[in-house]
Symmetry: C2
Subunit: 595 residues, 2 copies
């Protein structure tokens, strides 16, 4: 097999893994390490590796699959919810650097086409940068995180659409009015056709497969690959780039199209092949095309493009964010969070290089710009969010809110009463009709059903809920329901009551489905249910003076193990959350326990 150079594949994959892991250790996205390793190995520095046909083929398949994955991760529902502030941030953070980037390149004497490519590259926002940093800075569930997520998604979509326009324009060559209409018409036809196919044909295929009882994961994977390739080919026929087809295909492979379990598996496969195998080959090999000479020959342009990217993004976001009414400080924080550049930028730059629209020098500048801007994100975001936090302006908001509580017993109702903040954000499910009726009478939003049936979860709008609490005396039902909530409805938080039994559900099992145990301890339901329904308990509050994990708190109160039940944690804003194993109580937060 002459075409396959195993050694260079091994070196690329191994060093991509090294670089990626190192970057992640330092709190950066893996792509940063992959780009840097590529520059190191490539002609620019060590000169060990260079591009080859094999690398290009694999890298390009990697990009196609990565675009499918990126498309899959975009949820229309989330985009819809993002509405006002997210849209503002996305547009501001896109337009301002776009315009500045465009004129910078024109100023340096670049072609119009090159200027537009650079403009898109500086305007893009990285999707990959987010999650890890948000966790590190404890920003999940803040409004900023929410806006960031939506902003990045909108800006990516925007970038790809504009990019589509340019590619078809470039490919067209001669530019009379009629030609332009033809070019635009083809592009629009492509989007209309793929959207229609995605909305109407794909679900039909899904239904057909479900009806025919064809549930093979591999078959679904093959069929989806065929669809992806068909969309990509359509994009090329329409004069667009194949990655747009892949992206569109990814957008429509989602909830409800195929069996939920299979959708999840397919998502995993695309994730693993692209991010775990082929996409790193692309990012490392992107580094092979970088030249360090730009630091001498084009230093000014490098500095200007990087500054334009940073200042344009941060200020643009902040200015356009003003109408949201959330203040300019939050706008700046959002801007610093959106300042990274990632996969989409490098892909667009790479295509520009391949099409001969941008030079090797500009490509190198764009890669360095991606590296520098991404480097700033954790730093700047730490500063701006500490600033907001100190001013007490860091607003919390759940991206998926509300609770599903399983069990209309006294404990479940008591829990619901505490968690309820507005109408309908807590729903209680039970398979006992009488208990459901009683709960309804007491004014609770309660529903009859078998929680282990997907329909029941569906009816309870599980897909929008943020937390599932399993509170029946049967630990196994609690666990199985949490598993379903995780598997099919992606509910982020699953809290499960585990009974102190020798057999059955064990706390070890909770890890597998990312669930955690309610009350941070094995607990018998009945005695507490009796105490609560008899009113035979006191609610006490303890303010925590020093950050402590919930499990430590339970350990400290070990002696009272059977007489107290830690129920809630109340944060400084007065918001309650259930007391569970995987949590940390911050200084100043209060623990409410029953005695």
């Amino acid at each position: 097999m002459e075409e396959l150079n195993i050694l260079s594949l091994l070196i690329i994959l191994f060093s991509a893994w090294l670089g990626g892991s190192a970057a992640k250790k330092l709190g950066y996205p893996a792509i940063l390490g992959e780009l840097i390793i590529g520059i190191l190995l490539g002609p620019a520095l060590l000169g060990i590796m260079e591009t080859s046909e094999m690398i290009n083929v694999l890298a390009e398949v990697g990009i196609i699959l990565l675009m499918v994955y990126i498309g899959m991760e975009i949820n229309f529902r989330d985009l819809g919810k993002a509405s006002w502030p997210g849209l503002l941030a996305a547009i501001g953070g896109f337009i301002v650097p776009f315009v500045l980037g465009y004129y910078s390149i024109i100023y340096f004497g670049g072609t119009q086409m090159a200027a537009i490519f650079v403009a898109i590259a500086v305007a893009v926002t990285s999707l990959a940068t987010k999650s890890r940093i948000l966790v590190d800075l404890k920003l999940l569930n803040t409004r900023i995180a929410y806006v960031l997520m939506a902003g990045a998604l909108i800006s990516d979509t925007l970038a790809l659409v504009i990019f589509a326009g340019i590619v078809s324009y470039v490919d067209a060559g001669s530019i009379d009015t009629l030609g332009l209409v033809w070019v635009a018409g083809k592009a629009i036809l492509f989007f209309v056709f793929t959207a229609l196919a995605g909305i109407y044909l794909l679900p039909l295929l899904g239904k057909f497969l479900m009806k025919s009882n064809l549930t093979s994961r591999t078959l679904h994977f093959t069929l989806i690959l065929i669809i992806v390739l068909a969309f990509s080919e359509l994009a090329e026929i329409a004069g667009l780039h194949s990655i747009l087809g892949a992206f569109m295909a990814g957008l429509f492979i989602r909830d409800g199209v195929f069996n939920r379990q299979i959708s999840k598996d397919i998502n995993h496969i695309f994730h693993d092949i692209s991010i775990g195998f082929l996409a790193p080959i692309f990012f490392v090999s992107a580094g092979f095309n970088v030249t360090l000479e730009v630091f001498q020959t084009d230093l000014l342009m490098l500095i200007v493009v990087t500054l334009v990217a940073m200042v344009g993004k941060i200020l643009g976001t902040a200015i356009f964010y003003l109408p949201s009414g959330y203040g300019w400080r939050e706008g700046i924080a959002v801007g610093t969070g959106m300042n990274g550049r990632g996969a989409v930028e490098i892909i667009i730059a790479g295509i520009g290089l391949q099409m001969g629209i941008i030079t090797n020098e500009i490509f190198s500048i764009l890669v360095f710009m991606a590296i520098f801007t991404t480097l700033t994100v954790p730093l700047f975001l730490t500063w701006t969010t500490t600033w907001l936090r100190n001013r007490n302006e860091l607003v919390h908001q759940e991206s998926r809110g509300g609770y599903i509580i399983l069990g209309a017993n006294p404990l479940g109702l008591y829990m619901a009463k505490q968690l309820q903040q507005k109408d309908d954000d807590v729903i209680i499910i039970d398979a006992n009709r009488e208990m459901v009726a009683e709960a309804k009478k007491q004014g609770f939003n309660s529903m009859y059903g078998n929680i282990l049936k997907e329909e029941t979860m569906e009816d309870a709008k599980a897909i929008e809920k943020g937390t599932f609490i399993g509170l029946t005396g049967n630990s196994e039902i609690n666990f199985l329901a949490a598993q379903l909530a995780d598997d099919a409805f992606y509910i982020p938080n699953k809290i499960v009551l585990v009974s102190p039994s020798e057999s059955g559900t064990d706390v070890d099992m909770l890890d597998k489905i990312n669930a955690t145990s309610l009350f941070a301890n094995k607990t018998e339901l009945k005695p507490w249910a009796a105490k609560i329904s008899n009113g035979n308990f006191e609610e006490k509050t303890q303010t925590v003076e020093e950050e402590i994990t919930t499990r430590e708190w339970v350990k400290q109160h070990k002696d009272d193990k059977n007489s107290i039940l830690p129920f809630f944690i109340i944060n400084s804003e007065g918001i309650k959350r259930p007391f569970h194993y995987n949590d940390t109580i911050d200084e100043g937060e209060k623990v409410v326990y029953l005695e």
Copy 2:
């Protein structure tokens, strides 16, 4: 992206899927359809497609990944158990066609090297042909199936080792004695080194990852890819072919090396990427290299090679099988079952073509030989097994035998008593110490433990057992245990008692884990347990006169639903199996029910 021809990729994948599905519909392995579609599309017939650099790169990555998967599927334990008859069949089915194939090519004036390549190709046995045909012909759990499986595995391993020797020999070029020792030495060093690395280093890595709590599927996938590439590169350094490295790597990625759940996921990923995406590209493109002219120019050689492959394989197997004492008829049945050629043969032929050892004509002959021999398998195997069946010589044997019964209640004990055939093949687990003690006193093989802990299953040797029966009154524990048995211990049959409750485990859920409901009906444990412990029941037997599914049987006895409990099916050999939902009662089999 000039390197990526989306359209040809789309055509190949789509037609591979069409061909593969059509073949599978007709009861053949997908590879058959893929080869034929390749010949159709390629220069031989329609001339729409031809090989390209892109196709070759993807096809070769596909082969590497496929070899990893094939390696993963080989279980040393199974090989060990196969012992005598499997080994005999494998060796006979290998050596005889090998020798005949070698001399045929020499006779036709081929080079020695070409003769050896053809010899390996006719000697190989297809792994892929098995399972589907065995199911269709109801051969699973027969001794033949068992021998076939082992035989194919051994013959594949044999083929690859001999192939390794040849490749290093060819690469070496000049052939003095010292050179030959050097070549052989390097090859042996490779096998010793990879075996040692596989046995000692890989589990260390696995332990390290588990200890560091690194449970990311993607990380494991990347690391395993790196190991695969490293092994492949080592193979090349040792003068062998890279696919051997991939195969060796696959062999050692198995039970106990990594977390069980992750091992399973990784196995799925390799399966889906290779069989669902890249390997079909190889098989279709193999068809591109086929020329139909051999039917005119080399018809005699084609006929001879095909005949040698068939007759050599079937007779060779049958003759060498005689010492097993299972009779020559069973030997011939095994031979017809092993007559297919599949992935490994086409891969070896492809490499021979690429290395210039065999001509296009011989390659074409080998592809047609694969097609013809594979076509015979269902036909011949139907004949031979019907023949055996009519003579009452079709012997049943479980590849994984024995039962784990959860629940030491009266029903569980009664079940165990019926199923027990020899010592230790049934184990009863319960989390109630007293019930376990009582069961032990009555002479049952019983064990105390929480079935939902992996350790308990491990202690019960779940990995060797063929059937799990969940027989507690708690349907959810039964279900969760079956899920664990499926997920982590690959127990093929899972039978679960489902209680008639409005909430909790529902029969729909069983499908997901390939489980089935005990007694083919929702059943309350307590009343029957009481009846059995009081001896307040009668055991009745009904002989079935016409093939019927268990669910139909239950429907027919609907009126007695609460008063009878279908317990066992006894086949003509007197072997009992539990009565469950997904089963068919053959003519002449007896249903034992309690009344």
